[in-house]
Symmetry: C2
Subunit: 443 residues, 2 copies
């Protein structure tokens, strides 16, 4: 029986030992497992027991110095997700891949392959990467500027779509008798010539179960929002307050309509960092325990990276030097995060130390400590207020934070009838209710 | 107890429904399974039951028109091998990756990740790709010439080695107490600036079990042999006769010595296409049956591709027009294969039809039909005559050709004491007896 009631979507954002920067220092953390496939397979299986839509991994093409004080996401996304696909059946698998440092032909193949291997569970978090340090790993001197990256990104997505479309559903004839394997008339070259790419095509992998992986986007800058509205089916976003989230939600859905898209075809998932306790006090204790494990030298370094200004030169308990920061347009990379930090510091008049603590738990994402009922209340409120179609779950400490959420919060959401008790579909598109035809129509 | 006796190595070269171009038309073939992960997982598990060193997959970044008449290798190598890693324990996993159309930073990450996921079973078949059709999928007009490709390839390998070496074995401190995760003093940037690449490094994945995947090479041109002698630990090669194989074997091992390498550290594995029958007649019937399934239009097309001359303009039963072919130096791509075909046609004075049939079963690789004892005799003879350290097994029809080999030929090799009855090591390097230190010493 098909559910008609609007359902909340949950994506698990997997980050080594958890999203709190100090999570690896916690007694329950297993930082030695950061390169162990079994560790990630188990997390995915737990999320699948929780009937979540998908798991997702960030990916960077550089090693930050901050590895000194924390576990940096490791392992390459496609190999990791493919090994996870082999031990799961339903959960979606979303890989991050950058349009700035990849070739469309390779990316189209990888997603087609992952989609075949997983039976239609692939998702693509489209990023444009950040920082000159990445550029220098790819024979370039500096990172492309914000606008140019998005232009290239848009073209990149167009090319890979053409490649995924190069095979029709009935291109494979496989007639042993006549000796015809494929119908060349039903395989179309991409024949793309643009400003950034020229790709003849066709793809050398037949059409995969979903045709396109689910397209995911997380940029929250102006360029990022336009990109998401035009192309994305899932949007990850950082939202601190219900009001801001409602405004963002309306903004992106309106922009999507401008591109001729239905608002239902784009799902907005704010990041959410839960501390789950049997009592509110226990939940708060869990949060405090992790915050106390933060290394202050590390916090200063991260804040300096985000604000692109050396914060170690200012007193830790003095105000954030807002007047001495670069302007947002000078920021290479995550402009939206920069703006978020600046707004937070200004609004709450924070010291440097306070800003570090406020962002340590998840880089500015919405954090909430409470009982399962309190957490479900918050999620339901956001969901019903037009602030979210679901959440990008970012447990501060893994695997225990995920276990707690799955065993305690999810049954509460299910009792309220806003979250599935069983998977109804097989593909990630079916879980999310987004269809590839709607992406085609708009072109 | 460690074996000291020299052992024969076997690599399974997996090719969709088999290496015979018409294999997919055979009643026992399952061409619908070419994008099914279960199909490949089962093949790998069978090879693992046969205690083979590794499985290997070719990979191309373009779709040839010949897909009309045959199953072209499909699925992307890393996603495929990673999903296979998840259901196997010991067998090596060798992926093909081109140095012409990739970035070293990505390739270094992928292999490090696959090596972690598989517990040290990764191998890298280093290729430089072929043909302008590939170039046109990567925003280039034409393929780089032979020499330039190998120059770039050499530099590429140097960069990825530096990246794999950027982490020492004890770079990870993981001291929860002090909050030190990694020792920055023990992570070294690649700091590479060459003609083709400039890569700052370091890698963002800690040192993997094998440090480097086993390096494999298959070029048999002059440039290819030098490249192999300098860098490869396993060489796949096309050899028709015992004499040629002995000469090639000695040639590559001598060249390796020139680079200060031990001859034992480079394993030569000629391709071998077995038709296994309980009687010799049955084996020959199997071969004839497949040859009769060949589509002649397809054979002409493939031959035209290899010879880079349109063969459809010549009479099928007339001689191969040797005088009208381009010279080997004009061939873009597989020069060694071109030379092999020309030599074969000249030596045996073949018609076009005859040359097509001779190469249909495996693109010129050594083919042998016989009983398990006869096959073991041939393999043993090559192995003991200094023609081979083992073989790159290319079953003409899959999975049955592999099943036959594993259940009938392998026990025969084991009885002769030249092939393992159980894995002794865990990593592909241990299976092959090649060590990463010897690669380091020579630099």
């Amino acid at each position: 029986m098909s559910q008609t009631k609007r359902q909340l979507h949950l994506n698990l954002f997997i980050m080594s030992t958890g999203h709190h920067e100090a999570s690896w220092r916690h007694p329950d953390a297993s930082p030695h497992m950061a390169t162990s496939i079994e560790y990630y397979q188990k997390l995915a299986q737990t999320a699948e027991r929780g009937k979540m839509d998908s798991i997702f991994l960030a990916e960077k093409y550089r090693l930050p110095k901050s590895i000194q004080h924390r576990v940096i996401p490791q392992m390459e996304a496609f190999t990791l997700l493919s090994a996870i696909a082999a031990v799961t059946k339903r959960i979606g698998l979303t890989a991050t891949a950058s349009t700035t440092y990849n070739e469309p032909y390779h990316i189209a193949r990888k997603f087609a392959s992952l989609d075949h291997i997983s039976g239609g569970r692939a998702g693509w978090n489209i990023v444009t990467s950040t920082g000159d340090a990445t550029a220098r790993n790819f024979s370039r001197e500096e990172h492309m500027d914000h606008r140019a990256r998005y232009d290239r990104g848009r073209e990149f997505v167009e090319v890979v779509k053409r490649l995924w479309d190069s095979w029709q559903e009935d291109s494979l004839v496989i007639d042993k008798e006549s000796g015809i394997y494929a119908d060349l008339g039903k395989i179309q070259a991409a024949d793309f010539k643009g400003e950034h790419f020229s790709v003849r095509g066709a793809l050398n992998i037949p059409r995969s179960p979903q045709t396109y992986p689910v397209l995911v986007q997380a940029g929250s800058s102006e360029d990022g929002k336009e990109f998401a509205a035009e192309l994305a089916e899932v949007v990850f976003t950082v939202q601190h307050t219900l009001e801001d989230a409602i405004a963002f939600y309306a903004d992106v859905k309106n922009r999507a309509r401008k591109y001729g898209r239905s608002a239902e075809q784009i799902k907005i998932l704010p990041g959410f960092i839960p501390y789950v306790g049997d009592t509110e006090a226990e939940a708060r204790d869990k949060e405090r325990e992790l915050n106390e494990l933060s290394v202050s030298a590390y916090g200063i370094q991260c804040l300096s990276d985000t604000l692109q200004k050396d914060m170690s030169k200012y007193p830790l308990d003095g105000p954030v030097p807002l007047d001495e920061l670069p302007s947002v347009h000078e920021i290479k990379g995550q402009q939206a995060r920069f703006q978020l930090y600046v707004d937070l510091a200004r609004r709450e008049n924070l010291t440097i130390r306070e800003l570090i603590i406020r962002t340590a738990g998840g880089r500015g994402h919405f954090t909430f400590a409470g009982t399962p009922v309190q957490i479900a209340d918050v999620l339901e409120k956001w969901f019903r207020s037009g602030a979210a179609d679901g959440f990008n779950l970012m447990p501060p400490l893994l695997p225990v934070g995920l276990d707690d959420f799955v065993t305690k919060v999810i049954p509460e959401l299910q009792n309220r009838g806003i979250y599935r008790t069983e998977y109804e579909g097989r593909t990630l598109r079916e879980h999310l209710g987004v269809d590839v035809e709607s992406l085609h129509q708009k072109v």
